[in-house]
Amino acid sequence: MNPYVVPGLVVVILATVAIGAYGLRFARTTSDFLVASRSVSPAWNAAAISGEYLSAASFLGVAGLILRYGVDVLWYPVGFAAGYLALLLFVAAPLRRSGAFTLPDFCEVRLRSPLLRRLATVFVVFIGCLYLVPQLQGAGLTFTTVAGGSYVWGALLVGLVVTANVALGGMRAITFVQAFQYWLKLTALAVPVIFLVLQWQSDGRPAIDPPGGPVFPAATTVTFDDAARITLPDGTVDEVEAGAERTYPAGSPVPDVDTVDDQRGTDWLLPGGDDSLFATYSLILATFLGTMGLPHVLVRFYTNPDGASARRTTLVVLGLVGLFYLFPTLYGVLGRVWAPHLLMTGRTDAVVLILPEAALGGGTLGRLLGALVTAGALAAFLSTSSGILTSVAGVVFTDVLRAERSERGGSVRDFRLATVLAAVVPIVLSIYVANMDVSRVVGLAFAVAASSFCPLLVLGIWWRGLTDVGAAAGVLAGGGAAMAAVLITVLGPPLTGWPAQMIGQPAAWTVPLAFAVMIVGSLATSRRVPKDVGATMLRLHAPESLRL
């Protein structure tokens, strides 16, 4: 085992707790806990938003997908970044001006409907859990891959550190932690990439996609966790049992394994392929429109002082996130050269973690860089789970415990209680549901957000005619359909053909459905348009400098 990994992880956890504690010195009121008393500068805020957003799916999952499927999955990073453009264009400034802290708040401000507020609460908690479980799972898997430790302890450790940090420091402390973790994640990917590219040059630029498919760079022993059928390039079939080992010499082509779905040759290099168009557009729709509906993203906008600065913060986030996504692609591509055995085991998500040592050898440099990327991965789990937990806890605090409306007005203790409540379910789930597919579940969370909160926000901000009945019907139809698709994908039997595509990537039909139902429902109940809609529109769109 790499001797630098454990010290690296300890440093990240200590730095997280220390920065959280430093922030805690300033966090004295409930307002500090929830919105950092709105006194965070755009640069800090943008780094914090990016830090919170770049999750395990971005740090590990994107590179793993590219290693496996090639050019078609580049839409994941493009969509994750483009989501911030959609947020900037349609939501950022008006949402900040609405004064809403959470999505349920926005429903209350815009449509004055307690029922819709409760419906939104259900969706926030569902999306939050859907997003939190895979983060903790990713943490557990990393601990197994890199440190050889147990899955349960990895998931529990990250879960407890995050819960403690959010419960003790709230939003104020979290802002500093998140901003630190953005730069840590960027460094952890960018520095090793320099050495990897130099190594690739000095190796005489080995072909990324050799004509006969990927080849082993060195003699490699592959261990199979499950029984599989291996098809060698010359057509012979090798049946292996669970736990079997096979050794392949350097320079031999990587055989095909039936249990691992991957793309080879031009399928990997060139776009298209069989029936990918529907899935591609569905993915584009989910990621472009889903970002604005993620609960932990919206919470951040309230910490901007005004609408114009919310806009500028979003632009900086777009730049920071785009900069980050240049790197996972390189890891996925170079993984074809140095870590093709992952295509046989199916553990492609580990490519970022093992690539430095695989490419640079087991010397000090390779091990140090390996420890650096592992520390970055830990930062990814910590920051995203902290962000989601803060926002779900915020919703539990205001809507389930009803703390803000009680006579005491909601105390810091209530917020801590809300945090623990919000953390328990995902932590327990992540321990008992270990075999869920990490990156796909995150994609499904985007699809649910895009089919529920995106239409609600966009129509609520730009269309006077929206009514509470129409909004609730749209959220139930679109979001409910996406939720059902998620539950079928995660719990149901495997599907084939068209139903598999419609259920596996539901956004292409659930998003239009949500918009259509919301518009038709609102037109049918046009008498229920709130009487103060003019005043609300003025508040959402007029610049603060007018001081109305």
Partner: protein, 127 residues
Amino acid sequence: MSGSAENGRRVRVVLGEVAARRTPTDPAHADLAEQTPVGEALVRGLVRAQLALALRMALVVVTGLGALPLLFAVAPEIGSLRVLGLTVPWLLLGVLSFPFLFVVGWVYVRWAERNEQDFTAVIRRPE
């Protein structure tokens, strides 16, 4: 607005400035605050201008990025072109899409702020 006076520091009071600050007497301002038809029309104009701008920018992204999967499906030969040693789809999606998104966002922020300045100028226009 009168924060300096509240800090306990002495301030010079100039009648003209105080009068200029008394915004509710400004007719357009009052129209807005009191939701008269004129104020309503002004706000509708601002919302329409901002929405049109956002939709135009979204259209740029939809034609620039959203048409790519269709293009690669209809004309596969474009997908296998090489520029600077990279095939075109990798270059477009893996590298160029991110600066493209940022530039669209940057242009949007400038124009959205200009729309707001125009709106503010109409409200504050001296009669």
